[in-house]
């Protein structure tokens, strides 16, 4: 398993789907999200706070969803066990323009807590 490969994504999916908190706070979180790690992209389908499906490839931001696009080294910093300043969360990454967010912005604001917890679990997937 290497960072951001298919096996890593599946490892992250298992962590997300096993997280007790997400089962509560993500109950109404259903959306398609694109994560672009440099040249590697996935379409992640979230249903009720769990990752239902992961597909490789990319395209435009999904309708009623979001795309998070960033350079590979930005994500590499983010997934460190102790990420450096400015790289420690999805909110600072987007607000600090280290990630480009495209799509339906309301999905981000409505589900920021679940998104934050979900993306934190990428750190555990990287260990």
């Amino acid at each position: 398993m290497a960072l951001f490969d298919r096996a890593w994504m599946e490892s992250w999916r298992r962590l997300v789907n096993a997280d007790e908190g997400l089962q509560v706070i993500g109950r109404y979180f259903t959306a398609d999200l694109i994560f672009s790690f440099g040249d590697t992209s996935y379409l992640v389908s979230i249903k009720n706070g769990a990752i239902e499906q992961i597909r490789e490839g990319t395209g435009n931001a999904p309708r009623d969803g979001l795309a998070f696009r960033g350079a590979r080294d930005v994500w590499e910093q983010f997934v460190q066990p102790m990420p450096p300043p400015r790289y420690n969360g999805i909110f600072p990454l987007v607000f600090g323009k280290l990630l480009i967010m495209e799509g339906d912005e309301i999905v981000f604001w409505q589900n920021l807590r679940a998104l934050t917890v979900m993306t934190h679990l990428m750190r555990t997937a990287s260990r």
């Binding site: 990420p83 600072p92 309301i106 604001w109």
Partner: protein, 284 residues
């Protein structure tokens, strides 16, 4: 035997501009008044650790109050008819009204985030009445925070504010304290966080005004390296423009030093408090 915090909470009526504001405040300790200002959208609970720290309360009477609309301080009459926007004038005036009503003699003001930013206004306008100011996570200009999503009918304002704040704290800070800070955010009144950010990001702009600060009351900037809204570099650049100011960067701490990691914050705060004490002794 019951375990009690040394904090005493009370309500005081603070007159300002024709209104008697019913204001909640907590205090502990004795000595030099140290008035603590909470962050945007939060309340005085953020200072509970410092209020309970005998190393601080031995020499300082620590007071922390909830601004109107925050915590247990109710809004003024007719609040439901207007959009709340905190202004620099109201905020600075109200801090001084609190100090004067409680007859605090030459207090030290310590504020975080918007409470740090207001320290510049207080230093410019009221230095003669103040002993010193400690701007935690404060700087001359902090744009970008005044956005509609903080108060939008399709977004839970408490949840979104709390979630956004989680990651402007340092990952090294204890998890329970980070989430406790989020809890305060989740409890803010509708539109209050956004209204406070009007001051933080719009009405506060000291880029051309640092020269107005006389330096009669020393100004100490303490800034966490994980605070991307007010970075240590921004605070240091601000301090360089102000007479009798100094800046310290705090490693492994974020935007909420007093509540996210009180033990680590104490290591940076105590030397500043000791300087203030020494200056007081020298002046006698």
């Amino acid at each position: 035997m019951v375990r009690l915090d040394p904090i005493v909470g009370r309500f005081a009526y603070i007159p300002y501009a024709g209104t008697d504001y019913r204001v909640y405040f907590e205090e502990a300790g004795q000595g030099i008044p140290l008035v603590c200002l909470h962050t945007a959208g939060a309340d005085c609970r953020e200072w509970r650790h410092q209020l309970c720290d005998s190393d601080i309360t031995r020499d300082f009477r620590v007071l922390a109050f909830d601004l109107p609309r925050h915590g247990k301080s109710i809004p003024p009459d007719r609040w439901w008819k207007e959009e709340y926007r905190l202004t620099a004038k109201f905020y600075a005036d109200f801090v001084m009204a609190f100090c004067r009503t409680l007859e605090l003699q030459k207090p030290v003001i310590m504020g975080s985030s918007m409470g740090g930013n207001i320290c510049l206004h207080l230093a410019a306008r009221f230095a003669e009445e103040l002993r010193a100011l400690i701007a935690v996570e404060g700087c001359e200009y902090s744009p970008g925070g005044f956005i509609d999503w903080w108060w939008h009918p399709h977004v839970h304002g408490g949840e979104v504010a709390a979630a956004a704040m989680l990651d402007i704290m340092a990952p090294q800070s204890p998890e329970n304290y980070r989430w406790e800070t989020c809890w305060y955010y989740a409890q803010g009144g509708p539109g209050v966080f956004k209204g406070d950010l009007y001051f933080y990001s719009v009405d506060h702009d000291f880029r051309e005004r640092c020269g107005e600060i006389s330096g009669k009351a020393p100004l100490y900037f303490l800034t966490g390296e994980y605070d991307f809204a007010c970075t240590p570099e921004l605070a240091e650049a601000t301090a360089k423009k102000i007479k009798n100011a100094e800046a310290t960067a705090m490693r492994e701490i974020g935007h909420f030093p007093m509540s996210e990691n009180p033990a680590l914050f104490k290591r940076y705060l105590m030397p500043v408090l000791e300087k203030i004490l020494r200056a007081g002794s020298a002046a006698r």
